[in-house]
């Protein structure tokens, strides 16, 4: 059974929350991570479909990180990233070896591999040279925390550890209320709104139709469905996390009212946006900054880094043309917006809206952004007939 795949998952989570709440009365905070590790291990080995695959990945990632950063002390982070991403790259590229005639997918592919890989790279990038490896139990919990196991949000190790160290203290009335609120919000998003869109809107218009009205229905319904489905999962994960004493990061915050691409990624799949900014965009920008040929062109540097970052985001879902195109579009939006901001600063005025009423600018911006995102996500869905 995968997390959130059926309501029985919630029964198991209720048991876990009960165990955590009960343990709070008998154990001190230092035992919290052990209790959580036991519960995570039970879920992985008893409930999860491919337990050994995940456990092996965690072992590989932990000792791989140790080897690369503490034993071999490889300075070029890129080499370490490739080594740690190897299982996922083998799956995504569908690489096969002649001595193993079957698809490698069968042995190393499992639900949650992508999100685990995000966290593995996150920890490796955050780990300073010479910094002691985190203890294995914390690392295990970080990768295998049940509510975020499958589709995030993508937590950071430092944040996770702080939360874990205060685990039992975090189980209090205030957090229980926040947790229940988030959980109920997630339930409503996923099982009422997303379900209603799926049943009564999405798919009611021919997918291959090039009629504008049909395409508009398919495009908007997919955007709304994706948001409510994904945000629903994220809020449920946040809620369950809170009830178990963990602070899971917020992943969605009213993305429909975003006024520009930058604002959008601060509201939609926030943890992915932050991850890409910190671990790909910033190092890439720094790399370009060191290039003599690009030193004079900060805007170009930024824009190239932005475009590549969003194309990577597209590729992450798979090497399909529509993923790449969708990533490229999101990159393009950011590049255009970035150029616009720089130009406005240069000229000291808004080069597009001029002296228009700020409230009107906001409404127009929201409208434009909403539709641009809908187009990019429509392409991302692979259902765009054009």
């Amino acid at each position: 059974m995968l997390p959130f795949s059926s309501f029985e998952f919630f029964i198991i989570m209720a048991m876990f929350i009960g165990i955590m709440a009960g343990a709070k009365f008998f154990l001190s905070n230092k035992y919290y991570k052990l209790v959580q590790a036991v519960l995570n291990l039970i879920f992985l080995t008893v409930v999860y479909p491919h337990p050994y695959h995940f456990l092996l990945l965690i072992l590989y990632a932990y000792f791989g990180t140790y080897l690369v950063s503490d034993v071999l002390k490889i300075k070029k982070k890129f080499v370490g990233i490739v080594i740690l991403l190897l299982p996922m790259l083998l799956v995504k590229f569908d690489i096969r070896f002649h001595f193993y005639p079957y698809e490698l997918n069968k042995i190393i592919s499992f639900a949650g591999l992508s999100y685990a890989s995000f966290r593995i790279i996150g920890y490796y990038m955050d780990k300073a040279p010479g910094e002691k490896m985190t203890d294995f139990i914390t690392y295990f919990n970080f990768l295998a925390f049940t509510p975020t196991l499958l589709i995030g949000p993508i937590d950071r190790h430092a944040r996770f550890k702080v939360s874990q160290d205060n685990g039992f203290n975090n189980i209090n009335s205030e957090n229980v209320i926040i947790g229940i609120n988030a959980f109920v919000k997630g339930l409503a998003f996923k099982y009422i709104f997303a379900e209603a869109i799926d049943r009564y809107w999405m798919g009611h218009y021919p997918a291959q139709s090039k009629d504008l009205v049909d395409m508009a229905h398919n495009m908007y319904s997919y955007y709304f469905y994706l948001f409510f489905d994904f945000a629903g999962y994220s809020f449920m994960a946040l809620g369950i996390g809170k009830l178990m004493g963990m602070n899971v990061p917020l992943n969605f915050n009213n993305p429909f009212v975003a006024v520009n691409p930058q604002d959008f990624w601060r509201r939609f799949h926030i943890s992915l946006g932050d991850w890409l900014k910190d671990y790909f965009f910033t190092p890439l920008y720094m790399f370009f900054s060191r290039k003599k040929s690009l030193k004079k062109y900060p805007l170009t540097r930024q824009n190239i880094a932005l475009l590549l970052t969003f194309m990577l985001m597209g590729c992450w879902n798979g090497f399909k043309f529509y993923y790449l195109l969708s990533g490229f579009l999101f990159g393009l939006y950011s590049v255009v917006h970035n150029t616009y901001v720089v130009e406005c600063k240069k000229k000291g005025r808004d080069i597009m809206f001029g002296n228009m009423d700020p409230r009107a600018i906001k409404v127009v911006s929201i409208f434009i952004m909403f539709n641009l995102v809908a187009v990019a996500l429509y392409i991302f869905s692979g259902k765009c007939p054009l």
Binding site: S6, E8, I12, I42, S173, V176
Partner: protein, 396 residues
């Protein structure tokens, strides 16, 4: 904590209580969730390609009407009816009815599950099963696919198995296989989940502790659902009628000779005994080999053993027809012979009548039996019809 109880838990309990009582009102329930009316049968359930397409035929499965009935179960052979197809040929010449169920992929576990769901109709049921050897080779040896399984095994059928605790070993096997396929089901229904959890719970004490509350909650919810919707799991009791032999004389020899010559007329562009269209469209003179997998990885073989065991245990009047494969096209059929011998031995041990068309030697292969490389021609079907008619003594 007081605030949590008053502001959250108490309203939640009141909501659940209110929803339950609201949903229990049949007027509310029926207006919100109107039950799909079972359409009146426009024609008798003679050939059921899938139960999901013909749910109204579920109740007629393994049920005799005014006279005795034969049930023919198989896979792709059954589609594409000709005058020789048993579900057309037999009712046309005899008073006995014949109901055929299946299409491509309806393999042993799917059949096993359909029969297990109707286990109290098995005693004395005349069931002929057409075994396609291809089920036991290549990827098919992994057993019935989840998609095909669901086409033949509705939630209604599966609930009967899930709710029947007297099935012991048979139910255990069903649970085990369902559990094995579980990750292939995109949104498994209640019964499938229940079977999977029951199998999981038996693995270790930890599994038991974790799954037991889940199983008990599910049972309670299912009971509540049945109570609210007025659903009942019992179904029409079995009416087993004897087969009445007819005074029909069929000149089999001339029928065989004629049909064979007609089939051979369509096999002129090759010497392998394959229909012209199929040969030019799919074969083009290129032979193939079948992939044999070891017995221990052959789920289909294990499914077959359980199928035989079920039929024997429940006293069904079963018979089997083993279809051949074209040895000109499949050049390594001798490698497959042990598996076919195994199947034959299982049938013999259970003392069920069978007809085996299988040959590995090209010199023993009768051209005209198959229309392509593994499906019976009209001539092949007439031979199968004769076996069914003789086995169930339809002719005086």
């Amino acid at each position: 904590m007081k605030q949590v109880i008053i502001a959250y838990l108490l309203p939640a309990l009141i909501s659940v209580f209110a929803i339950y009582h609201l949903a229990s009102l049949s007027s509310v329930n029926t207006s919100l969730f109107p039950q799909e009316k079972t359409s009146k049968l426009s024609k008798p359930c003679v050939f059921i390609e899938t139960f999901s397409d013909f749910p109204e035929c579920e109740d007629s499965f393994l049920q005799d009407d005014s006279a005795g009935k034969i049930f023919l179960l198989g896979s792709s052979e059954l589609t594409g009816a000709t005058e020789a197809s048993p579900y057309r040929f037999i009712p046309e010449h005899f008073n006995t009815k014949l109901q055929a169920v299946g299409h491509g992929g309806n393999q042993c576990f799917s059949i096993y599950s359909q029969l297990l769901a109707n286990e109290d109709r098995l005693k004395g049921a005349k069931i002929a099963i057409i075994i396609s050897p291809m089920w036991f080779f290549a990827k098919e040896a992994a057993g019935t696919s989840s998609k095909i399984f669901l086409e033949f095994n509705s939630e209604n059928f599966l609930n009967r198995i899930s709710g029947n605790d007297s099935l012991s070993d048979f139910k255990r096997y069903e649970n085990e296989r369902i559990s094995h396929m579980f990750s292939d089901f995109s949104s498994p229904n209640f019964a499938i989940r229940q079977m999977h959890f029951e199998h999981q719970a038996g693995k270790s004490p930890i599994h038991y502790l974790l799954y037991k509350p889940v199983i008990e909650t599910d049972k309670l919810l299912l009971k509540t659902k049945f109570h609210i919707t007025g659903y009942h799991t019992d179904y029409s009791p079995v009416k087993r009628m004897p087969l009445a032999a007819d005074s029909v004389t069929i000149n089999w020899d001339s029928l065989f000779t004629f049909s064979k010559s007609e089939v051979l007329k369509t096999m002129t562009n090759n010497t392998w005994g394959i229909g012209n269209d199929y040969f030019s469209g799919h074969i083009n003179g290129v032979s193939s080999k079948i992939k044999v997998c070891p017995d221990k990885e052959n789920y289909e073989l294990e499914d077959f053993r359980m199928l035989i065991k079920l039929l024997k245990n429940k006293g069904a009047h079963a018979s089997f027809i083993i279809i051949p494969m074209n040895p000109f096209y499949y050049t390594n059929l001798n490698e497959a012979a042990p598996i076919i011998s195994n199947i034959e031995a299982e049938i013999q041990n259970a003392d069920f009548p069978y007809y085996n068309y299988w040959v590995t030697d090209t010199s023993k292969f009768e051209k005209g039996i198959l229309k392509d490389v593994m499906h019976l021609s009209t001539y092949g079907w007439y031979k199968a019809n004769k076996f069914i008619i003789d086995t169930y003594h339809l002719a005086k």
